[in-house]
Symmetry: D2
Subunit: 349 residues, 4 copies
């Protein structure tokens, strides 16, 4: 696609962390021109005022949704919070493609959505044609989708680790325990006491035990892969770091399966996936090793408990867990190489 | 016990973090006089040089073991690394009581010790009479012990959460998964690349998967409580904070047991234990809430997976997980109130 | 003072960080009984709900100011934000003593207060008799005061370092540059974007350059000590840590004064001050070395620039910089030893 | 320069943080082919073993200097520690160009080097033709240099802020006070107690007061710009973050100069410098805003002290302060656009 045929894109929710990373990644993309940055509460401000780290960009100032010339927009990256995304997206012209990073179109059943998000869905018809944007598992559908619902950060890390194993029937879906850990940016940029530096710093705790909103998403996809309903344990923890997410999945092996079998299946499943890396035996996934990048590192370990194994996955929650995966999906939708604009190597230390 | 009848104590390994916290807690204790601080590599230095935060104390300078007048020592707090503690302790006069914070006398079977610590034990006879210093579970034996082997930091957090449940036969010992998280001080003060600020900061990873040295200790005590061999999954993670340890234990309930039953048993088990707190329903243990103190917070949560529950415990690894518990044991051994010298409230934020 | 003669104290603003540290320190104090914890927005909650780290205390639940039986209160520790403290304090019965940690009674000139705090003072008469609670410099006045206005955290660190030097006329008051650095808890517990973990973490920046509200307080006290108006450079920075404050003061030496002279004067000035420590030559003040304690470490260093020196002071902003100093003043006011309840050693690491 | 005419480059000191960031930036550069990664202590290891975050690269394994086919190398990026760089570089064939990130060729006077680095220089002849690689100020000389001595991280931040002001004679060179703050990666990857997480975390302290090795470098360049010897105050502090450096420079204004004049001169000086940004009035430089990028943000502020101003600069110490500036110099030396390979936007949060 030639440079003069760049896709005109708008970012909805440009003042949050997801929006910021979307702009960071999309602005230098050779096939994208950012024509509108939408952030109701910051309309009239320059991008440099809201995000000084992006002050070098030649970007438009922030506007309200009403101020946008939608005729000049081909695709929308939506980084709005769940609950507000569905109504904003429902109003967009059919012609515009949508890559949604909110939770609003991930769950196929509007009732499940209503139950978990305490929010009636205003655009249930759009759900039907929405494609779950877990790139490595829905490539073909994403290519021709109008609306891609990018997975939550936790589901991305969990499903990339477990879906190939469930599909290959190597693990028991009745006994999946997911101990998840996230950096604080996963909670967004809104003002909450629990994410103040002095509250979250030098400390660690679980949260949302048994009722985190990423649960139904994980269960929906595992069920689709296994052909039967799945219930999982999912226990997230808040870690004193800004970025990064690590999921330690404790699984029961089916029949005579070994940890080595899991490793083999994962390696094959992602042989053609440039951002997925099954770490060498003895190596250990760490969020430091993927920071700022679209990579996902996965490790498989034998368990001391017979018949069990441990699968560990690490991502950057704002990149592979959000804006990076969104851009990866954009690349598929518009015929770019999957890695375009996502070549940044991880930042360590 | 009158002030002029203070117990003369020495600290072996006074230059490490365990030694530092031992001095911090013991120095103001009304029943202790610190007569010797032993740290081979720092002999001749003042305490203020090695630990400027303790510069206000009227403490002796650091010496080698050979320089100590052992006749003037009644009790030794040993904060040496495992592998060096057993030979140093083996040389001490029988008259001297020992509160060991190393790993060297925790395992009752010297062969198990040799296997896990790659180190032949030089004082196997002392092991026989060593008492495992998990205060809340061995109070009576500790009172009359000569040598108390204080538990590791992880085993402390895990066993306080699980031992009452195993003793009450409320959980299946064949299916215990322990996802543990520790601050970096748990790795000690020795120079290792993995614990440099720039390596461990802003990042998270598991380590020692399947072979952490605290495993045999946990299994030994669970086996003793249940009457049969126990194997557990124990997966520790390194968290970017200095202090604090949180263990998320995933357990299978026996028969018709509920999470509420676990809570009730734990509450009863620790009714007379001043440092153990079963947090209110809805509240969540966090390392921030016990930082710098000898408290252990435990929470019990129902699991989405039927027939399972989640038990979460939080401690300060250097206090309840090491020096604080050592002092608590000292109090029992010398007839002080269990809380003497341990009244510090947690430091938050 | 016998235990049955404890002073009945109330804490105004019990739900902030200052309030929390006030309760942490005052609750175990042998001469204090906390009879009321006041926090408008949290009335009806238990202390454990607002501050789980204090859940072990036998403390009253939080109430509004109206609910307090003021007849049962002898002294009030006020941790309210500036601007609300003066009106609350103005309403209290004359009989009640006040130890105010807000900014409202620090400035002797109500106009200066109004100018810097954009707030008309509602109790200007009380200002007249308020004593500036920098303990080491106002001991005698504090002993007999009704209202003690404890210094801000920065002024505490700065003035402890500079006042003796100004009084001794060893430094030029026309050329004082103060580069100050504070942990994030200094900004309080209110919700502001700049103190979110993901904003303040892994980063550093100055703020309030040239207009920080602690400036007039510093200048007022330096002027009082020198006998003439003083203007200073004061440039604070936000550091990614929860607690701690370090001020690096660049001063021009008067006449033939040397850095050694400064050290000598400071050492003498604080010879009888148990919490002030002039660190040994070659040693360096660090916030880690005073964390959680009431200590202030001060170091003096020769400058490469001839005729100049560097004076560095470190405190815990919530202890010596706020609640600890408040309690130290309480001790003076009620005849306790100055260190009572403040014996906690610093927490390192 | 066509892609098939890439420059063959070697990295000396590939296992340190400087080496890692050099590889991170150079590997994707369209004009560079990394033909040798040299790290004595890690020879035989893959890059992924030493730096798992770089495991995706198609890079050669690490080797010793002796194993390198120097005929196949056109340029060397040297990230060796000072003291070892000069002898290694001295041995290289004259044909090879050198971009040195060590301190060994920065000081023009070998005696000054010997005095500050306690190390006799083994290649004094090479010093003569070495160009100080502060890109924005030595562009022309760098273009034709054989050996470029990239500035230290602190001198980069300080000189970018001050050199234009000194050249324009707007500030007094006799009264420059530089309060500098650095993240921990500035201390390198070698094992030192002071940079352990538990030592440096949650704390702040100055270090190297009056004798930091970056002083002579700063003074050399300021002297060259002003035409007379310059002595500065330079006081660095260690901040609990991995990356980032901020220098707060307190300067005395010459004659009737105002802060606005400084801003104007800086703006003009860097009008054609793509990585230098004078932040808008009211905005404040922060290390978070340049993290991971080659940008330098500079702010100018009026001082309350009459006749003075404050100049603040922020960089990423490993990028603009080291590997990024090295690559920028490479671009000049080999005719690439100055920004090639350095387009990464800062990573925030």
């Amino acid at each position: 696609m030639a440079k003069d045929k760049t896709v005109r894109a708008a970012v909805l929710g440009a003042s949050g962390y997801t929006g910021a990373d979307m702009i960071r990644l999309a602005a230098p993309h050779p096939g994208i021109r950012l024509t509108a940055l939408i952030a109701k509460g910051h309309a009239g401000q320059s991008l440099a005022q809201v995000f000084p780290h992006l002050s070098g960009l030649d970007a438009p100032e922030l506007v309200t949704s009403d101020e946008v010339d939608w005729d000049a927009v081909a695709v929308v990256f939506c980084g709005l919070p769940h609950g507000t995304a569905h109504s904003e997206i429902g109003k967009l012209p059919q012609r515009i493609k949508i890559i949604d990073m909110s939770a609003d179109f991930r769950l196929r059943d509007p009732n499940t959505y209503a139950a978990w998000y305490a929010n009636e869905h205003s655009a249930p018809k759009l759900i039907k044609n929405a494609i779950y944007g877990l790139t490595e598992h829905y490539r073909d559908q994403i290519k021709s989708a109008r609306l891609v619902a990018c997975p939550g950060c936790y589901p991305t890390a969990v499903l990339l680790a477990l879906l190939p194993l469930v599909k290959a029937k190597l693990i028991e879906t009745s006994d999946i325990i997911i101990d998840a850990k996230s950096g604080v940016s996963g909670a967004g940029r809104s003002l909450k006491q629990s994410i103040l530096f002095a509250e979250a710093g030098e400390g660690l705790s679980p949260y949302g035990i048994g009722n985190h909103r990423h649960v139904p998403e994980i269960e929906q996809e595992l069920a689709a892969a296994s052909g039967a309903a799945v219930t999982v344990n999912f226990t997230p923890h808040l870690v004193p770091m800004s970025r990064g997410e690590l999921c330690t999945c404790y699984v029961r092996l089916a029949g005579k399966t070994s940890a080595a079998d899991l490793r083999k299946v994962l390696t094959n499943a992602y042989a053609d996936s440039p951002f997925l890396r099954i770490v060498a035996e003895g190596a250990i996934p760490a969020t430091q090793h993927v920071r700022g990048s679209n990579f996902c590192h996965i490790g498989v370990f034998a368990d001391r408990l017979p018949g069990r194994a441990i699968v560990v996955s690490a991502i950057d929650n704002l990149v592979k867990g959000s804006a990076g995966q969104a851009l990866q999906n954009f690349n598929l939708m518009y015929g770019f190489d999957e890695t375009t604009g996502l070549e940044q190597l991880p930042l360590f230390p």
